[in-house]
C-alpha cells in the first residue's frame, strides 16, 4: 500500500482549487449582498429579471424532457440493438460537445432564418423560429444533447443484459422490464445526466445570444439579462442575477455529489 499524498501536495491542490473556484464563488455572493439584504430582494423583483427568469424556466420545462427521452432511448438503442446506423449515431450525438456555442447559434440561424433550409418551409406554414422562444428551445436541445446518454451508456454497458433477460424469462413484457429493471439500474447515472442537462440549459449563453434576438421582456433569458445589465452599467442588478444562477449551480452540485455518492455505494466502493 502506498503512502498518502504529502501534506504539501494536499495544500497545493487546496490552494489551487480554492483560488480558482471557491474564491470567485464567494466573491459573487459578497457582491450581491453588498448593498444589504433588502436591496437584494428588491432587485429580485425587477421586471426584466423576472421575465427572464420565467422564460428560462419555460425553456427548461420543454427542452429537458425532450433530451432526457432522446438520451434514454438512444442509449438503449445503441447498446441493446447495435448496428452500423446506431454506431454512427453514437458518434454523431457527441458532436455538440465539440461545437462552440457561437457556432451553435450561427448554425441554427443559418438553418432557421427566413431563407434557410428549414426556415423557408416553416415560414410557408406561417411558423417562425428565429428570435422566438422556440429558437431558444432548439439551441438548448443542441448544446445539451449528449449529456444524458454519455452518463447512461457506460453504466448500461457494464450492468449488462442478464438482468433484463432474467426478467424476460420470468414473464415480464418490454415496458415492465424497462421500468422495473433497466431504469432502476441506471437511476443515479440518469439523475446525474438530467441534472447536467438542466444546468447546461439554464446556463446557456453564446448560442442563445445569437438565436434569441435578446429582446427584453420577450426573448431575454436570465443569462442574457445578466450580461445586459453589465453592458448597461447596472452591475449590481447583474450580480443579483449571477448570485441567483450560482445558487442554482450549488444546488446542482449537491445533487451531482449525491448521485455520484449513491452510484459509488452501489458498486461497493466506500467513499
Amino acid at each position: 500500500m502506498m503512502h498518502r499524498p504529502s501534506l504539501a501536495l494536499r495544500v497545493a491542490v487546496l490552494c489551487y482549487v480554492g483560488a480558482l473556484v471557491a474564491l470567485p464563488l464567494g466573491f459573487v455572493f459578497q457582491q450581491a449582498l453588498s448593498h444589504g439584504l433588502s436591496a437584494f430582494v428588491t432587485a429580485l423583483s425587477n421586471a426584466e429579471m423576472d421575465s427572464a427568469l420565467w422564460l428560462t424556466v419555460r425553456v427548461a420545462v420543454v427542452a429537458v424532457p425532450l433530451n432526457v427521452i432522446f438520451g434514454l432511448g438512444v442509449s438503449l438503442w445503441i447498446l441493446r440493438r447495435p448496428s452500423r446506423v446506431s454506431r454512427v449515431f453514437d458518434t454523431l450525438i457527441d458532436l455538440p460537445l465539440a461545437v462552440s456555442p457561437i457556432i451553435v447559434g450561427l448554425s441554427l440561424e443559418l438553418a432557421y432564418a427566413q431563407n434557410g433550409w428549414l426556415g423557408r418551409p416553416l415560414a410557408a406554414w406561417g411558423l417562425h423560429v428565429m428570435f422566438t422562444y422556440w429558437a431558444i428551445v432548439v439551441a438548448s436541445v443542441f448544446v445539451s444533447l449528449p449529456l444524458v446518454s454519455r452518463q447512461v451508456i457506460p453504466l448500461l454497458r457494464s450492468v449488462g443484459t442478464h438482468q433484463e433477460q432474467t426478467a424476460q424469462t420470468l414473464g415480464a413484457g418490454p415496458v415492465r422490464i424497462f421500468l422495473t429493471v433497466t431504469l432502476r439500474s441506471i437511476t443515479w447515472a440518469a439523475a446525474y445526466g438530467v441534472t447536467l442537462t438542466i444546468a447546461r440549459i439554464i446556463g446557456e449563453y453564446g448560442a442563445v445570444l445569437i438565436v434569441s434576438g435578446n429582446i427584453g421582456l420577450r426573448t431575454e433569458t436570465l443569462t442574457l439579462n445578466i450580461s445586459n445589465n453589465f453592458g448597461n452599467f447596472t452591475p449590481y442588478q447583474g450580480f443579483v442575477g449571477v448570485s441567483l444562477l450560482s445558487l442554482v449551480s450549488i444546488l446542482v452540485l449537491l445533487v451531482l455529489g449525491l448521485a455520484r455518492h449513491r452510484e459509488r455505494l452501489r458498486h461497493g466502493y466506500r467513499p
Partner: protein, 264 residues
C-alpha cells in the same frame, strides 16, 4: 432480447430519433458547411487566413493549450489528492470540482472580469491579456482533467506499484514509471476534451478578453462579430475551421489514448 428492444426502439422510434437529430444538429451544421464552402475553397481559405482571423485563432490555440496543459498537471494532482488522501472537507473539494460544469459561462465571465479586471479588489488588471483569457479557460476546463482521471484512480488496485516498491523503487520513481503511464490514456482524454472545449469557449472568456481585434480577440468572438455584421459566409468559414480543429484534436487524442491503452 430482440423483441424487447424492438418494442422500444422500433423503426418508428428510430426514425423519430433521426429526425430529431437532423432538425437540431445535422441540418444546421450542414448549413454552416454549405455557407463555408459554397463559394469555393478559395473563398473559404481566404476567410480563414484573414489577418484578424489568424490572430484570433492563434491566440485561442495558445490559451487553450496553456490552460489544458496546466490542468493536465493540476487536474491529475487534484484527482490524486481526492482519491488517495483523507481530510475533513474532502467532499466539499470534490463537489467544487464540478462547479465549472454547473456554472453558467456568463457567470464565470462577469465574475472573473470583476475579480481580475479594472475594478479588481486585488488591484490586478489582466483584461485584454492572454493571462486573463487563460485563467478563464483554466477554470472552465478543470473538471475535464480531474474527472477523466479520477475514476481510474478509484478503481486501481495499485498492485503493480506495490510490486515496484518491493523491487526497490522510490515513491517518485514508482509514480513516474508505473502509475503515470497507466493513467496516460485517461489524462490525454481529459486534455483532449478540455482543449476542444476551450477552442470554442465564449461566455466565460469574452468579458475579460475585451475583444480587441488583433490583441485579445478570441476565435469565437471573431465569429460572433462576423455573424452579427452580416458576413455569414466568412463566419461559417472560420466556424468550419474551428470545428475541424476540434474534431481532429478529439480524434487524435482518442487514437493515441487507445494505442497507449492497448499496451497496458
Amino acid at each position: 432480447m430482440r423483441r424487447y428492444t424492438s418494442a422500444l426502439t422500433g423503426h418508428g422510434a428510430r426514425g423519430l430519433a433521426l429526425t430529431y437529430l437532423s432538425l437540431v444538429v445535422l441540418i444546421p451544421i450542414a448549413a454552416v458547411v454549405s455557407h463555408a464552402l459554397g463559394n469555393g475553397l478559395g473563398s473559404f481559405w481566404s476567410a480563414l487566413t484573414q489577418p484578424e482571423a489568424l490572430s484570433a485563432i492563434r491566440l485561442t490555440l495558445w490559451c487553450a493549450a496553456g490552460g489544458s496543459l496546466l490542468n493536465m498537471v493540476a487536474g491529475t494532482a487534484t484527482a490524486w489528492v481526492l482519491v488517495r488522501d483523507r481530510f475533513p472537507g474532502q467532499s466539499i473539494l470534490n463537489a467544487l470540482i464540478d462547479l465549472p460544469f454547473a456554472l453558467p459561462t456568463v457567470v464565470a465571465g462577469v465574475t472573473f472580469y470583476t475579480l481580475y479586471g479594472p475594478h479588481s479588489p486585488f488591484h490586478v488588471n489582466v483584461t485584454g491579456t492572454w493571462i486573463g483569457i487563460t485563467i478563464a479557460i483554466t477554470f472552465v476546463t478543470l473538471p475535464f482533467s480531474v474527472r477523466a482521471v479520477q475514476p481510474l484512480l478509484e478503481t486501481r488496485t495499485f498492485t503493480a506499484e506495490a510490486a515496484a516498491a518491493t523491487l526497490g523503487a522510490s515513491s517518485v520513481r514508482v509514480f513516474r514509471t508505473i502509475t503515470l503511464p497507466a493513467l496516460m490514456p485517461a489524462i490525454l482524454t481529459g486534455i483532449g476534451l478540455a482543449f476542444a472545449r476551450a477552442l470554442g469557449e465564449y461566455g466565460s472568456v469574452v468579458f475579460i478578453s475585451n475583444n480587441l481585434p488583433y490583441r485579445s480577440e478570441i476565435a469565437s468572438s471573431y465569429v460572433y462579430s462576423l455573424a452579427t455584421s452580416g458576413q455569414v459566409d466568412a463566419a461559417s468559414a472560420v466556424s468550419l475551421g474551428l470545428l475541424v480543429m476540434a474534431l481532429v484534436v478529439l480524434m487524435g487524442i482518442n487514437i493515441t489514448a487507445q494505442r497507449i491503452g492497448r499496451g497496458e
